[in-house]
Amino acid sequence: MDPSKSTPPKETISLEVFRYQPEEEDESRMQRYEVPLHKDWVVLDALNYIKDQIDGTLSFRWSCRMGVCGSCGMMVNGEPKLSCAAFLRDYAPGPIRVEPLNYFPVIRDLVINMEDFLHKLGEVKAWLLPDEEKPVSEGEYRQSPAELARYKQFSMCINCMLCYAACPVYGHHPDFIGPAAIALAQRYNLDSRDGAADQRAEVIFSHEGIWECTFVGDCTRVCPKNVDPAGAIQQAKVEGTKDWFRSVLVPWGKKPS
């Protein structure tokens, strides 16, 4: 939104923003900024105001400003939030503490390193692996609305990383595949066109992290898209347990792969 076209409000609110510039300082610090308290401004608008009007050296990621690109996740007063969807008015009178997402290495200021997630997305084979490739000439796979509904919720993940920043298991065990990647694996496992659930299970259960997940459900609570990664993890675990019993106790009962 363009600040020049709306009347600036009289009230202001302070933001305490996490700053870390690795070339210039050994440690992070908090920096305080005063911004106008527009009733329809979100935390991201305030950060852009700071960047444009007060301090050009503040770094953060953002792009769509409509809650779908997943770039602008941050800790806002200690909670993982999309900063484009966190209204200043909900935090008035402030101050609002803005920090990088928990549990991720910080590159600079509010910018985290999320390479680990991208690696895990590849590990769990988060893409469609049909039993048999269907030629394009044969047209689309048939999939009923009910079949679509089975996995649709898990396909809504925008990779914003809020669930990782809320996950105590990920905090202790960075190897844990984690909520979003498991939800996306489960998204394909449940797709009627897919046939590779067994391949994904190997990866998901390769780290004991999953057994430490006690379904506190913080990942689901903070998800801005109602994906319910905790539900996905629970489903995956139930399937995993069944498979384990099948393979150990009744090896001949193992699902054909």
């Binding site: 020049s4 009007q53 394009v136 048939r142």
Partner: protein, 586 residues
């Protein structure tokens, strides 16, 4: 500096770039592919597309109808051979995406569902609720993960095409994490960098859409085509410019003025049907007219005093209440989410304030039907390119399909080029990248004289564009804007950065983006000044008729040391001679 090399280099990791990358993997997995993107690919702006993607799939539809709708929607400025290729290849591209897992909404029998969009005779828009672009992009990105021949350069900001010996041989890209310039060579380079909606103040476009690829190509002497054609989407949220999808009208939403009157009936868009009439919404009429005509109707309605004044300027209202909560939640749930979160209203029970906002650049890097630009080794696809299938006004839901069809075509053409081309000149590419690094160091890491900051210049630019090159233009408004741009360029040349750090320096990237925005703005104004007619989205108050005799032609804007130079190229007309655009009769 180390030289990184690939067979094919793709700049941009959105829909077109990822489709191109996958096409190469399918064509020949031995070829190494590099994808350079200034954001993680799933952050690309394709993600924000909502309503759907057009392709003929249902038995009641025909390729002929899709072709005609596209050409007439384009006000006959589209190349008809290109449109035919596009429409013919669209269905198989869409099916391919279905095979890669895209969660298309379905009919009860399990086939993909389609919905109507503006300017269409027959409903042919495939959709995934109203997050079609999001699902397409994530399906493409996740599918791309399985190709081992693909190297991603995520968060690498391309600053320059490396052209040596009359051929594009790579790019210089700023690695955001380290601040180092990387020299990345490619036997062929495909630009897939998207549009430039950020040259305007009210836009549906994400922050990253700053015309990077268009400007980089332009600087190397490649012409930009039809840049004067800028699409305003008729229904954006005021203030933020957030898109309220055309699907909301495809599902039956109506537009009303301050008196509750469906004003579109006064603008040659047909007669309104009652919202409870089973025939509503009727295709190619009223709310399902083309975007250019609806946006123009808004301005005229505003001039008559029939719009409502709000905190962010004048608006009309989009009414979807009659659809009911169940249908809204099923068909356009994202519209409800966006209205609640960003406009503080619930469309189930309230009217949505809307206004036209810049949405799409019909113009772009001049390419032929294979995606090749006039510069050997350089190709382009997606919104940054102009093939042209969109002419003077793009039809809603053609752009997502265009990413697929022309992303794949450009990839195949790049492979053909790479096969017959001699090796890149590694030392020359390195040298060019080193020069680019030095340019950036000199320009942005040395003290400068300027007193402006980036935001100030950017704000002045976008308001000058809205004032002079908006929905209606004339020579005076255009000349004024041209003067502003000239002045801003001078001031931008002396910008002083506060941030001299190498690590993730987003002030530096904003400055580089401002340079791109200024170049792109220049070409938009220049094309608009030269085209003394009105066609599609380009409406000249001082030349209000279409002039096929002089302007059934594409404009090509070339960079020179002084003002840009405009040339013209005939539109390819095959079977559909120019006619009147009729919406709403019959």
């Amino acid at each position: 500096m180390e030289l990184l090399s690939h067979d094919i280099l793709i700049v941009g990791g959105g829909g077109a770039g990822l489709r191109a990358a996958i096409a190469i993997g399918e064509e020949n997995p031995q070829l190494s592919v590099g994808v350079v993107s200034k954001v993680y690919p799933m952050r690309s702006h394709t993600v924000s597309a909502e309503g759907g993607a057009a392709a003929v799939i249902k038995p009641n539809d025909s390729l002929e109808d899709h072709i005609y709708d596209t050409i007439s929607g384009a006000d006959w400025l589209a190349d008809q051979d290109a449109v035919e290729v596009f429409v013919n290849e669209a269905p198989e591209e869409m099916i391919r995406l279905e095979h890669w897992g895209c969660p298309w909404s379905r009919d009860p029998d399990g086939s993909v569902a389609v919905r109507p969009f503006g300017g269409m005779k027959i409903e042919r828009t495939w959709y995934a609720a109203d997050k079609t672009g999001f699902h397409m992009l994530h399906s493409l990105f996740q599918t791309a993960l399985k190709f081992n021949n693909l190297t991603r350069y995520d968060e690498h900001f391309a600053t320059k095409l490396l052209v040596h010996d009359g051929r594009c041989q790579g790019v210089a890209a700023l690695e955001l994490r380290t601040g180092q310039i990387r020299a990345i060579a490619g036997m062929a380079v495909i630009l897939c960098t998207g549009g430039a909606g950020r040259v305007f103040p009210f836009t549906t476009n994400a922050a990253i859409k700053t015309g990077d690829g268009m400007a980089m190509a332009y600087r190397e002497g490649v012409p930009l085509k039809d840049m004067e054609f800028v699409q305003y989407h008729p229904t954006g949220l005021p203030g933020t410019g957030i898109l309220i999808t055309e699907a909301s009208r495809g599902e039956g939403g109506i537009l009303i003025n301050k008196d509750g009157y469906r004003y579109l009936q006064d603008y040659a868009l047909g007669e309104p049907l009652d919202v409870n009439d089973p025939q509503h919404p009727r295709k190619r009429t009223m709310e399902l007219g083309p975007r250019d005509r609806l946006s123009q109707a808004f301005i005229q309605e505003h001039d008559k005093g029939n719009t409502t004044d709000g905190p962010y300027g004048h608006v009309v209202h989009l009414d979807v209440r009659h659809l009911g909560e169940k249908k809204i939640d099923k068909k356009i749930p994202f519209v409800r989410e966006l209205c609640r979160n960003y406009a503080g209203i619930d469309p189930v029970s309230e009217l949505i304030p809307v206004r036209p906002v810049v949405h799409y650049m019909m113009g772009g890097v001049h390419t032929n039907i294979e995606g090749e630009t006039p510069l050997p080794g350089l190709l382009a696809a997606g919104e940054c390119a102009c093939v042209s299938i969109n002419g003077a006004n793009r039809l809603g839901s053609n752009s997502l399909t265009e990413l697929l069809v022309f992303g794949a075509r450009a990839a195949r053409a790049a492979v053909r080029f790479a096969r017959q081309a001699v090796d890149v000149d590694g030392p020359a590419v390195l040298r060019l990248a080193q020069q680019e690094q030095e340019r950036i160091r000199q320009r942005y890491f040395q003290p400068q004289q300027g007193k402006d900051n980036i935001a100030k210049l950017r704000t002045e630019l976008v308001w000058a564009m809205e004032a002079g090159v908006g929905i209606y233009r004339d020579e005076r408004s255009l000349r004024q804007t041209a003067d502003v741009i000239r002045e801003l360029k001078e001031r931008a040349g002396q910008l002083q950065l506060a941030d001299h750090s190498l690590t993730f320096n987003t002030e530096l990237t904003a400055a580089l983006e401002l340079e791109y925005l200024l170049d792109v703005s220049d070409t938009v104004v220049c094309g608009a000044l030269a085209r003394t007619e009105s066609r599609g989205s380009h409406q000249r108050i001082d030349h209000d008729a279409r002039d096929d005799e002089r302007f059934l032609k594409h404009s090509l804007v070339y960079r020179t040391d002084g003002d840009p130079r405009v040339e013209y190229l005939d539109v390819v007309i095959t079977r559909w001679p120019p006619g009147d655009r009729v919406y709403g009769s019959k």
